[in-house]
Amino acid sequence: MTMNRIDQRFAALKAQSRRALIPYITAGDPAPQYTVGFMHACVEAGADVLELGVPFSDPMADGPVIQKACERALKHGTRLADVLDMVASFRETDSTTPVVLMGYLNPIERMGYEAFVRRARDAGVDGVLMVDMPPEEATAIAPLFAEYGLQSIFLLAPTTSSTRAATICAHGEGYLYYVSLKGVTGAASLDVEAVARQLAPLREMTDLPLCVGFGIRDGETAAAVGRVADGVIVGSALVSRIAENAERPEAIPAALKAVLGDMRDALDR
């Protein structure tokens, strides 16, 4: 079996001593027909992995920026099945950039685990991060992920105990998503020193790449975090650009590229 795209990408980055730039956008925001174009724009601006948000009616871990993105996407009826179609369409011209679906478990529960893993694999999805599915609740779906070549991406938080961290490291695949602060997405600013302190013991537990999200808003924060982590994840800063330009979506790819381009330069400097 060939190596998962996520592992391939991180192996390549490691060989070049580079940090991963991982943008998050909500699928279907501001309307479904634009998402695939935005994904390509992110890759052109230097994205290494794409996190594609599956819109959900009750995004409990998200702040107002991503809540509103979900509302815009749902107004156009963007369903999980549509998101999978978007990935398939993206794959027609990009067969190398890893795509991770991020969201909440209920849409997958409704589609059914078997149907979901089959359709996700067929569409070209590489990893799945469900915010409300910690490893303890993933035991039923984990074997299906393995069978269909999908990787389970898990979260680690400042509040995660060392016992839990060991469990999560043992179950995690692809990369670990370290949540930089106690809060929802789009929250204030992160403390790079604290993040560095908390990542250190995790390095002892796992060889998986450690990527940091929450609070990364510009090139400066990206570069600061890039000095201690293997990758940075940027969500609300991009989704805000989408929101500002929701009425003129043709301007969005350039807006996304401007944010990501700064971060790419800062990370590679």
């Binding site: 871990a61 369903r79 409704r110 303890e136 680690l156 509040t159 106690k182």
Partner: protein
């Protein structure tokens, strides 16, 4: 087939009630829930803690609440005898205070100076603000903007008690959105904040913990039935939104196989119209929301549905996971009462017995009336009168064309 005695040994160590329940939360909250579980497990068998809890229930809440024989109403219906478990007589006017007393004691023991809560009808918010005032805890309440509008009186009560009330404008602007917002607050302020969940839902250990604090209702009702009726009742009836008052009444009777139990959900305009809040009655597929797996009203793509009920307190698309299991194993049957039947029961109890029930509780009354009519006069039904109706006077008056 599950033996009913096995039901009293749930949840399992992971918080599962069969396929339901669990702890589906973002990682930041996992530690807080593990801590809460530890504190709760160590205190629930602690004699001093239980004594303090019982003392508060006696002298602050006013327990035991009476079991009242609604003779005149029973006679009018002309069937079984209806008994009302008078949770409406508790301090703050509903069963919610039993749970908030327990959780606030835990907050105090855990050294958390700040409590938050979600509320629908406002009863849980009032009960939380009340115990917070008494213990000197900072209190913030999340309430859907639509509910803030239809429960103005309770909003003002909470503010008088010193709580800050945040109207929630996102989503459907009702109870589920208030819970989303409370979870967002908790994840941000997890170090100093205790989240007092108001029903038997949410991530483990909440469903079990809220059940245990609320089960005093059923323990009393069981003793009172033996003393006043001379035997156990034939049936128990309670309304079910998240399901805390129903679990509180039912749980101590689980192994009494001859006692039938009926949970009454909010039928809204009628389950067949889709405008309701009755996931169990409607056989909604299982789903995951607010930390647990349960029967959940959602569309085919997994988006949580908007619900409808005349009572804000039952306006919730899910239901406590233990109820989901009780439905599956057949221990409890679940039905729905529609808004118009509920209003009729509200008016009837008020006029015939001089007791004005909360619209939530009137769901149980509406179904008890139907049941009683087909039973014999020597049979007995205990109905949980979970709250009083003062807070609903505006809603009912509006239907009568009156504005205050």
């Amino acid at each position: 087939m599950t033996k009913f005695s096995d039901l009293t040994r749930l949840p399992d160590a992971q918080g599962h009630f069969g396929p339901y329940g669990g702890r589906f939360v973002s990682e930041t909250l996992s530690f807080a829930l593990e801590e809460l579980e530890k504190v709760y497990m160590s205190l629930r068998d602690d004699a001093d803690f239980q004594a303090e809890f019982d003392r508060d229930l006696a002298h602050y809440v006013g327990r035991p609440s009476p079991l009242y024989h609604a003779e005149r109403w029973s006679e009018k219906i002309g069937g079984a005898q209806i008994w009302l478990k008078r949770e409406d007589l508790n301090h703050t006017g509903a069963h919610k205070v039993n749970n908030t007393i327990g959780q606030a004691l835990l907050a105090k023991k855990s050294g958390k100076p700040r409590v938050i809560a979600e509320t629908g009808a406002g009863q849980h918010g009032v009960a939380t603000a009340t115990v917070a005032a008494r213990l000197g805890l900072k209190c913030e309440i999340y309430m859907g903007a639509e509910d803030v509008e239809r429960q103005k009186l309770n909003v003002y009560r909470m503010r008088l008690l010193g709580a800050e009330v945040h109207p929630v404008e996102s989503g459907s602007r009702t109870l589920k959105d208030a819970m989303n917002e409370a979870l967002r607050d908790w994840v941000t302020n997890v170090d100093d904040t205790f989240y007092i969940i108001g029903t038997v839902a949410g991530p483990h250990p909440y469903p079990a913990m809220v059940r245990d604090f609320t089960a005093v209702i059923g323990r009393e009702a069981r003793e009172q039935s033996l003393a006043q009726i001379g035997r156990l009742p034939d049936a128990l009836v309670a309304c079910v939104g998240g399901g805390s008052n129903a679990i509180g009444l039912f749980y101590p009777f689980l192994e009494d196989e001859d006692v039938a139990m009926v949970g009454v959900e909010a039928g809204g305009d009628g389950v067949e119209t889709g405008r309701h809040a009755a996931p169990l009655t409607a056989n909604a597929p299982s789903g995951v929301l607010h930390g647990n797996r349960t029967y959940l009203m959602s569309d085919a793509s997994g988006q949580v549905s908007d619900t409808h009920s005349i009572s804000a307190g039952l306006d919730y698309p899910g239901v406590g996971p233990e109820h989901a299991l009780w439905k599956d194993v057949g221990r409890v049957s679940y039905v729905a009462a529609n808004d118009d039947a509920v209003l009729e029961a509200f008016r009837e109890l008020t006029r015939v017995e001089g007791i004005m029930p909360a619209l939530e509780s009137a769901h149980a009354l509406a179904h008890a009336k139907v049941m009683a009519a087909s039973m014999r006069p020597d049979q007995h039904i205990v109905v949980n009168l979970s709250g009083r109706g003062d807070k609903d006077i505006h809603t009912v008056a509006k239907l009568d064309g009156l504005e205050f």
